[in-house]
């Protein structure tokens, strides 16, 4: 199965890179842009019995390595 993990800074944590990009977009005339957040995507294959098992395993990976839950949240997508 294909796993896709998206990691973002939590809502309460100032995303300075997102802020800088937002400012640059405003500078280009895209004045209606707000709330820019920069994250990362991590994709990989995972062998698991089913989607539920895969999701549980990938969540464990997020908690232990892929995200630092002090500052980051994550979303997991599993596709066959």
């Amino acid at each position: 199965m294909k796993a896709k993990v998206e990691v973002f800074l939590k809502a309460g944590v100032l995303d300075v890179e997102g802020k800088a990009i937002e400012g640059a977009l405003h500078g280009l005339g895209f004045a209606d842009v707000s709330g820019v957040r920069v994250g990362k995507t991590i994709e990989f294959e995972v062998a698991a019995a089913d989607r539920v098992a895969a999701e549980a395993e990938v969540k464990a990976m997020c908690e232990r390595l892929l995200a630092n839950t002090v500052i980051e949240g994550y979303r997991v997508e599993i596709a066959a």
Binding site: L9, G12, V13, V16, E17, L65, L66, N68, V70, I71
Partner: protein, 220 residues
């Protein structure tokens, strides 16, 4: 007195730390490669140096926190041995959950490299006792991700328990409550963003960092 400096792939200040500790304290300093699962016996001080361990892949310090030597470092920290994480070493200690909080990108998105004046907030720790009545120190920062973050409850606890050890007079990177260095609850693990290893002789602009190493080894 016996100290060890851990060397990760991408460590930069490992040699600086060795020389700084030797010249400040006369201690014997072993260099320990990250792949070792055991540390030398009878250590009085373990230093995690600055640099860009594992190329800062994923997050600063994230990969180093999982290296074999860190299990041994965590065990020594648990036993009460003095551990100092400087700059990237501080990031590694946070990633290993040996210290609370995390280090974010600097608020101005810039790498900051300059001398900074620090308040010694807690002069009673084993890392600051040798400063005596002095309540200020000058060291150099060199970081791009030195912006200390923890949630408000954690920050309140750190302040309340005397775990905030160093504070910037002028915050160079946006750190929460201008925090430059903290200790764990037991007081034997210090994480510090400025470099005592770049401030151990007057010729370097400041010798204040030497006192930190002397302090750490004074009880040895």
């Amino acid at each position: 007195m016996k100290a060890a400096v851990v060397v990760f792939p991408g460590s930069i200040c490992d040699r600086d730390c060795k020389v700084a500790i030797e010249r400040s304290t006369g201690a014997h300093v072993d260099m320990v490669w990250h792949a070792e699962s055991e540390l030398p016996k009878g250590l009085d001080l373990i230093v995690l140096p600055g640099g860009f361990s594992y190329g800062d892949y994923l997050r600063c310090g994230a990969m180093a926190a999982l290296s074999p030597v860190m299990r041994a470092v965590a065990a020594e920290a648990e036993r009460g041995t003095a551990v100092v994480g400087i700059c990237n070493g501080f990031q590694v200690l946070c990633e290993a959950r040996i210290l609370p909080g995390a280090l974010l990108r600097n608020a101005a998105l810039k790498y900051v490299c300059k001398a900074v004046d620090l308040d010694i907030v807690n002069g009673q720790t084993r890392f600051t006792a040798a400063y005596g009545d002095r309540r200020e120190a000058t060291m150099t920062v060199g970081n791009g991700e030195g912006n200390f973050f923890a949630d408000e409850a954690t920050l309140d606890r750190l302040e309340g328990e005397g775990q905030v050890v160093f504070r910037y007079r002028q915050n160079p990177n946006g750190s929460a409550r201008a925090i430059a260095g903290i200790v764990n609850g037991r007081g034997n693990v210090l994480g510090i963003m400025p470099h005592p290893d770049r401030a151990f002789e007057a010729e370097l602009g400041s010798a204040d960092g030497a006192i930190l190493f002397q302090s750490a080894l004074a009880s040895a």
